[in-house]
Structure formats: C-alpha cells, structure tokens
Symmetry: C2
Subunit: 269 residues, 2 copies
C-alpha cells in the first residue's frame, strides 16, 4: 500500500467557485493502477492553513503528498512560503527554476521579458527543493523530500497539474505500486432499497474480504428505487482480480433478482 495524499490549496474550492476536478482526475489515475488518493485536504490561501495542512499530512506518514495550487506570481499564491514555514527550510532563489521560467518566456517569443519580483517569486523555492519542468505553463513544479515523504507541488491549473503529474510524479508512484490489476464492474439496479441490498453485500464481503462493493443510491424513479452498485477487486494477478469480481457480480445478481429487483445494466467504466 502506497499512501498518496493531496493537499489542495485555494479559496475558490472553499467558497464553491470551483469544484475539485483535479482530485477527481488524480484519484482516477491512481485507481486505474489499483491505488487511490488516501486523503484529500483542501485549505485556504493562508500561510498558517497551508503549513498546518502539510504538517498534518506529514504526521500521517504519507509516502507522497501532492500539493496542488498556489504556485503562481500573485500575492494569494503562498504555497511555497507555507511549505517553508512547515519544514523550516527558508526560501531561496533557485537557479534551475529561474532558467525554466526564462525558457518558458523565450519559447513564447518574450525573450527579453523583465524578471520582476512577481516572476522571481515563482523561482523562489524552499532550500533543498528541486524545480520540475512545466510543459504547459510558467510556474515550475517543485519536489522535496521531508523525512521519508516525497512532497510535490503542482500548479492548480488543470493542464499544468496533469502535465507535471504525468511526467514527474506518476512514474515514481507506479514504480512503488508495482503491477496491480483492477477489475471494476458497475451494475445499475432497480426496485430494491439499499437496506435490502446490505445483507447481500455483507455476505459477499465475507466471501471476498478484499473486494470493494459499494452502493450509490440514485433516488426514486416512478416509485422504484435506483442504485448503482460498484464492484472492484485489485490483485497482482489480472485473472484472479477478474475472476473474483465476476464471482461477486454473479452472486449479487442472483440475490438481487431473488429479491424481485432487476439489474438493468452492467458496465466496465
């Protein structure tokens, strides 16, 4: 088990301006590899909140903490300052980061652009941190090790977050995870309440303690209860994962139909 936490920084997420699609994307990437985000913490653009969030995450001995947002040039962007505060590593102009920023402007035909304080800020990193190329924007990503935890800072702009995560973060996590396979099936069920589904799920979890079986109630349509039922099994052996998931599926289906309800679809999302 590899513990990967996300620390999302940005008031827009706390006032309902933005929904955290970055967490959805990263969670889904990890899930395809048989893992997940162990925890997602969202904090305000505030030094104490960012530092507190990082400290709490570090105290849980996460293997990876991916901090998302707050790397830009504007005054609300204070992620690196927060990390400096939490780790006791003062901020310093980083030569590699400065070069990456200059190259970014040059590639856009802005070769002679002045290195204003706002631009230098994006190259001012905690000591013993490395700058990571940002193929999709200006602010470099940042990597640092704190004890046994690898901390990565990525911009909040989705295209930039994704590009740096794919290039500089995901390969390390993938290597730690090894080759896991996930078999994932989603059933749509009609005509049964969650409370009637519960004993069927309990029985299957006794047969397959490692399986993930979760019901998502979707409300009533024409007096009939609709539920999505997700079944997932992770295993090093692809065939074993598939076999277990199909076994759960068969038994659940038999139980659901035995209760007079109906499975209206089976998907492999």
């Amino acid at each position: 088990m590899v513990r990967v936490e996300m620390l999302a920084v940005g008031r827009e997420l706390l006032i309902g301006r933005t929904v955290n699609t970055n967490a959805r994307w990263m969670g889904a990437r990890l899930a395809k590899r048989g893992s997940l985000l162990s925890e997602i913490t969202t904090v305000d653009d505030d030094l104490a909140e960012i530092a507190g969030g990082l400290r709490t995450s570090l105290s849980r001995k996460a293997d990876y903490i991916v901090v998302v947002g707050g790397l830009g040039p504007t005054p609300d962007d204070m992620t690196l300052k927060g990390i400096a505060l939490a780790t006791g590593r003062p901020l310093r102009l980083n030569a590699v980061a400065l070069r990456l920023i200059r190259e970014h402007y040059r590639e856009r035909g802005l070769g002679g652009v002045e290195m204003t304080p706002a631009r230098k800020k994006m190259a001012t990193l905690p000591t013993r941190a490395a700058a990571l190329p940002n193929p999709a924007g200006t602010a470099p990503g940042v990597r640092l090790a704190v004890g046994s935890t690898k901390v990565f800072c990525l911009p909040g702009v989705p295209s930039e977050m994704k590009a740096i995560f794919r290039n500089s973060v995901e390969p390390l996590i993938a290597n730690d995870l090894g080759n896991l396979s996930r078999a994932y099936i989603r059933l749509k069920v009609e005509g049964i309440y969650e409370s009637a589904l519960a004993p069927l799920i309990s029985r299957e979890l006794r047969r397959h303690p490692g399986a993930y079986i979760k019901s998502h109630p979707k409300g009533m349509v024409e007096g009939r209860s609709r539920i999505d039922l997700d079944i997932a099994v992770v295993d090093k052996d692809r065939a074993a994962a598939e076999e277990a998931a199909w076994s759960v599926l068969r038994e659940m289906k038999t139980g659901i139909e035995g209760a007079g309800a109906e499975v209206t679809s089976e998907e492999r999302p």
Copy 2:
C-alpha cells in the same frame, strides 16, 4: 469568524468516481453569507481514517464540523462508528432515530416493513447524539456536541445533505455569523499575464487589506492570455462592502487598461 469544516467520507471521492459537488454547494451557501468552508477533508470508508479525520478537525477547534456521507445501511457506511471511536461514545439504538425511520417507510406506504439489522443500523447513534429529520431520504442526520464544537453528520446523497443542512445546520451558523454582506464582482481580462497583474493586485490589497482579490488564469486564446479576476469584500455594512469592491474594481481596471490589456466583461456571479 466562524470556523466550519467539512469531513467528506467516501471512497468514491478518492478514486475519481465522484467529484465533491457537496463541498461546492455548501461552500457557496456559506460564501453568500460572507463566510466559507475553512477546510475540507476527504477520507476513505475506513474506521481509522474517519476517526482520525474527526480528531484532527476537532484539534483545530472548529466551531462546526459537518461530516458528509457514510450514514446508510450498507457495510461501507461506518461514519457513526468512526465518530463513536473518536469521541469514546458507544453506539446505542436511538429511539427518536428509529421513529424517524419507521415514519419514513410508513409515508412511502411501507408501514409494516421489518426493522432488519441494516435498518436499525441507521438508528444506532453515538450516545448523547440527537437524530435530525431527513425530509428527502431514510437515514436521519445526527447532531452531537464535542467540547465547544458542534458536529453534524449528513447523508452523502446531495438532495438529503442539502435538505438537512438547510433545516438543521445553516440556521445555527447564520445566527453565529450575524448579518454580513458580500460584494462580489468577477472581471474577465484579456491580454495580460498573471505576473503583470500581480503588482496591481498587491497595490489594491495594501489599500484594502480585507478585500479578496484572486486571479484565475484561463489559458491562452489566439496568443492572448485570459484571466478571470474575482473581487470580494465582506462587511457588516452592505454599502461599505459595495463601495470597497467598486473602488478595487475601478483601480484594477485602470491598471489593466494602462498595461494595454482589456476587461471584456464584468459580472456579479
């Protein structure tokens, strides 16, 4: 300042199956009242994770912790067990909760429905907790006080979460907040980089230290940088909030146009 934290429970949020629209909704409700969610924590359907999340949130002396998800009848629903673990309050069948569940079934013409273990589970609450009516579903909400923190547990199904929040949580928070007004303006800006906007924002924040001014880069269109610029001011006095927000708007606009860029729209979202 009233500190309201959300603790969202559910693996679906950690594997990218579901995006946390509950957080967006609740954050927006609070923002309209001049407040925000101070922190959002998302954890897995796991006893230790839920208990740990609650303990961490309690340690930050939140005024309100709204736990969302994990109240249903299925085995993955273990929020109340996690709270019992974190607070040392054993679970017990709650007579009011049981009555609410029976009434819910009766209203749906299922008067004689058997109180199976799965159904009783939804009425099994930590001691010294109160059951809250759920006008949109089966599982009652739960309220308990832990020290000076008010903890609320709401179902994860959005319609149920919203109904109980509106009826049983929001009035208390609103009362604590008092009457605040928020003036909120969004500008769409074209032709300026965030790094060039930064000194203009810094200057306005010196003039109006309580204002919230945040740029959201929206990428390049035909070689021109596009940015959304949010301006918000909260004040007990509505006119003062409006006046300050408009003052920031005017100055920002002058600065942006002085830099050769363009404000293409002004919205009141």
